[in-house]
C-alpha cells in the first residue's frame, strides 16, 4: 500500500463517521480528534473501520500513532503487505 492508497482508505472510513468532513480542509499533521470533534467512540470506530478495510491490526500500544492523518498513513504504509 502506498501513501495515496492509505490516505484514500483513511478518509473513506472517516466519511462514514463524520460525513460532513471535507478531506481538503483537514490538516494532516494536527490532532484529529480535536480538529474534527471526534469522541472516543468515533475514534475507536475509525480505527476499527481502517482495520477491517486493510486487515492491518492496530495494537493498543500503537493507537497514539493514529492521532493525526500523517501518523495513520505512515502506520498503514509500514504495516501493510
Amino acid at each position: 500500500m502506498n501513501k495515496e492508497q492509505a490516505r484514500q482508505i483513511i478518509f473513506e472510513v472517516l466519511g462514514e463517521i463524520a460525513p460532513e468532513v471535507d478531506p481538503a480542509a483537514v490538516d494532516d499533521s494536527s490532532d484529529l480528534t480535536e480538529q474534527l470533534d471526534l469522541d472516543s467512540m468515533d475514534y475507536l470506530n475509525w480505527m476499527l473501520g481502517i482495520n477491517q478495510a486493510t486487515g492491518v491490526e492496530i495494537p493498543q500500544r500503537d493507537v497514539s500513532r493514529f492521532l493525526t492523518i500523517d501518523g495513520a498513513v505512515d502506520y498503514l504504509v509500514d504495516h501493510s503487505g
Binding site: G15, E16, A18, D39, L44, L48
Partner: protein
C-alpha cells in the same frame, strides 16, 4: 383482541408520526419484535410490540400527521397460551454476536429470545430450520448468522453501513441492487453515491422522507421543553467528587493490550458499569417522579447522553446495565451510540431510562453540572480525565483523575444519599477487576 397503542416515547415526547409498518395483517408478531417506525422531534424510533399474536388490523396508516401517545395503532389477535402476563414488559436486548454472555434468566425460559427472533426476522431466517447451540439448546445469534450464510433469495437483509442506509433512503435507492465494496460485501456510503450516479432516482413514495428539513431545530425545541420543565419543577442539588482512575486505567490498558480493536473497552464503559453497580446501593436515586411521588425502579436502565454531530443530543437507555458484563456493556454502548447517530433508536430505549449519565469530558470540560431529565430524579456527570497530583500513602503522586458529579432531585433525596452514590462509585472504580 389486544389494542396496540403508540407507546411512550420519552420525556415530553407526546406526538409522533408513523413512518412505516414493518408488519402486515396476518403476520405473527412476537414479544420484543420491532413492528413499526415512528418519528418524534428528537429521533426516528423503532417501535417494539410486547405481545404475542397475529396482526388483525393496522388502524393507522403511515403519513405526515402527528398522532398522540396512546393512539390505537393496530389490533392484534392473541395466540392462545402464548400471551405475555400483564405488565411483563421486557426490553429488547441487543446482544453482540461476538460478545455472547450467559443468557439472561428471562430469555432462558424460551427456546429463542426475542432479540434472536428479531434478528432472524430481519435476516429472513426460518428458525424452525436452525439448530440451536446454546447452553440449553436454544438458538443463539451466532446460529442465526451461520444460517444466513446458507439462506439466499428474498428476505435476506442487505449489509450496509448506517450512513449508506440513510443516503439510500433519502433518494429511495434500493440497496439490494448496490454492489458492496466494504467488509464482507457491506454497502458503504461511497457505493451508494456511485450507484446514484448510474441509477435513475425513483420519486419517493409513501411516507415523507425520514429526515425532514429543520430536524436540528425541532430537536432543539424538544430539548428546550424538557430542560425548561426540569429547571422549573425540579429542585436540583449538586455534588462533586474527584475519583482517582490510576488503578482502573492501568487495569483497562492491560486488558486492551491483549485484545483486537473490535474487543477493546473504552473508559466510558467502565464508568457506566461502576455507576450502575453504585445505584444498587442507592435505589432512591433510580426511578421516576410520577403523580407527585417517587416511584423507584427495580431495574437499572442507564440513560446515556449521546451528542449528535449535527447538534443536539439524545439519552437512550442501556437496559439492565447493572447485570451486564463489561464486554456486554461495551457492546451495548457501541451499538447504542452508533444507532443514535444514525437515528435508529427504539421506543423502549427512549422511554425507559431510570437515571442518565453524561460524559461531557469527551468534549474537553473537566466538570459537568448536568440537568436532570424528567421524570428521572438524578443524573451523573463525568468530566475530562486529567493528570492531577494526589496523595498516595502520604506521598504526592500524579494520577489520572476524573471529576464525577451528581445532580439530584431534592424532592426525593438529600445530599447525603447523593454523596453515598459518589462514594460507592469511587470505591468500585478502585477495584476495576470486579466490575
Amino acid at each position: 383482541m389486544i389494542d396496540f397503542m403508540l407507546p411512550s416515547l420519552g420525556a415530553d415526547m407526546d406526538l409522533a408520526k408513523l413512518n412505516c409498518w414493518l408488519v402486515k395483517p396476518g403476520d405473527t408478531v412476537h414479544r420484543g419484535q420491532i413492528i413499526a417506525e415512528v418519528e418524534t422531534d428528537k429521533a426516528v424510533l423503532e417501535v417494539e410490540c410486547w405481545d404475542e399474536g397475529v396482526v388483525e388490523e393496522l388502524v393507522v396508516s403511515p403519513g405526515p400527521t402527528r398522532i398522540p401517545v396512546g393512539t390505537l395503532l393496530a389490533r392484534i389477535r392473541p395466540i392462545e397460551g402464548a400471551q405475555a402476563p400483564p405488565g411483563a414488559k421486557e426490553p429488547a436486548v441487543e446482544e453482540s454476536a461476538s460478545v455472547l454472555g450467559p443468557a439472561r434468566p428471562a430469555a432462558r425460559q424460551e427456546v429463542q429470545s426475542p432479540p434472536v427472533r428479531h434478528l432472524a426476522h430481519q435476516l429472513g431466517v426460518d428458525l424452525a430450520r436452525v439448530t440451536g447451540t446454546g447452553p440449553v439448546g436454544e438458538i443463539t445469534r451466532e446460529d442465526v448468522h451461520r444460517a444466513v450464510a446458507t439462506v439466499t433469495g428474498e428476505g435476506q437483509r442487505v449489509k450496509a453501513s448506517p450512513l449508506a442506509r440513510r443516503l439510500a433512503s433519502e433518494t429511495s435507492l434500493d440497496l439490494s441492487g448496490v454492489p458492496g465494496s466494504g467488509v464482507a460485501g457491506m454497502v458503504t456510503a461511497s457505493d451508494v453515491r456511485a450507484a446514484e450516479q448510474s441509477v435513475p432516482v425513483r420519486p419517493a413514495a409513501g411516507p415523507e422522507p425520514s429526515e425532514p428539513e429543520g430536524r436540528a431545530e425541532t430537536m432543539r425545541r424538544a430539548i428546550a421543553r424538557s430542560m425548561a420543565h426540569s429547571k422549573r419543577e425540579i429542585p436540583h442539588y449538586y455534588l462533586a467528587n474527584h475519583v482517582d482512575l490510576d488503578r482502573a486505567f492501568r487495569w483497562l490498558t492491560a486488558q486492551n493490550e491483549e485484545r483486537p480493536i473490535s474487543g477493546r473497552i473504552l473508559p466510558a464503559a467502565l464508568l457506566l458499569k461502576a455507576t450502575a453497580l453504585a445505584l444498587r446501593e442507592t435505589p432512591d436515586l433510580n426511578g421516576h417522579w410520577v403523580d407527585e411521588g417517587f416511584r423507584p425502579s427495580d431495574a437499572i436502565h442507564l440513560g446515556v447522553a449521546v451528542s449528535l454531530r449535527e447538534g443536539g443530543l439524545v439519552a437512550p437507555a442501556i437496559h439492565d446495565a447493572d447485570r451486564l458484563s463489561l464486554d456486554e456493556m461495551m457492546a451495548r454502548l457501541r451499538d447504542l451510540v452508533n444507532r443514535a447517530r444514525s437515528w435508529r433508536l427504539r421506543s423502549s430505549e427512549m422511554s425507559d431510562p431510570t437515571i442518565t449519565v453524561t460524559n461531557l469530558g469527551e468534549r474537553g470540560v473537566e466538570t459537568a453540572f448536568p440537568v436532570i431529565i424528567p421524570p428521572q430524579v438524578a443524573i451523573v456527570g463525568f468530566g475530562k480525565v486529567v493528570d492531577m497530583p494526589v496523595a498516595v500513602d502520604g506521598q504526592p503522586a500524579v494520577h489520572p483523575v476524573v471529576h464525577a458529579t451528581l445532580a439530584g432531585d431534592h424532592r426525593v433525596t438529600d445530599g447525603h444519599r447523593g454523596g453515598l452514590l459518589l462514594d460507592a462509585l469511587d470505591r468500585l472504580l478502585q477495584e476495576p477487576e470486579s466490575l
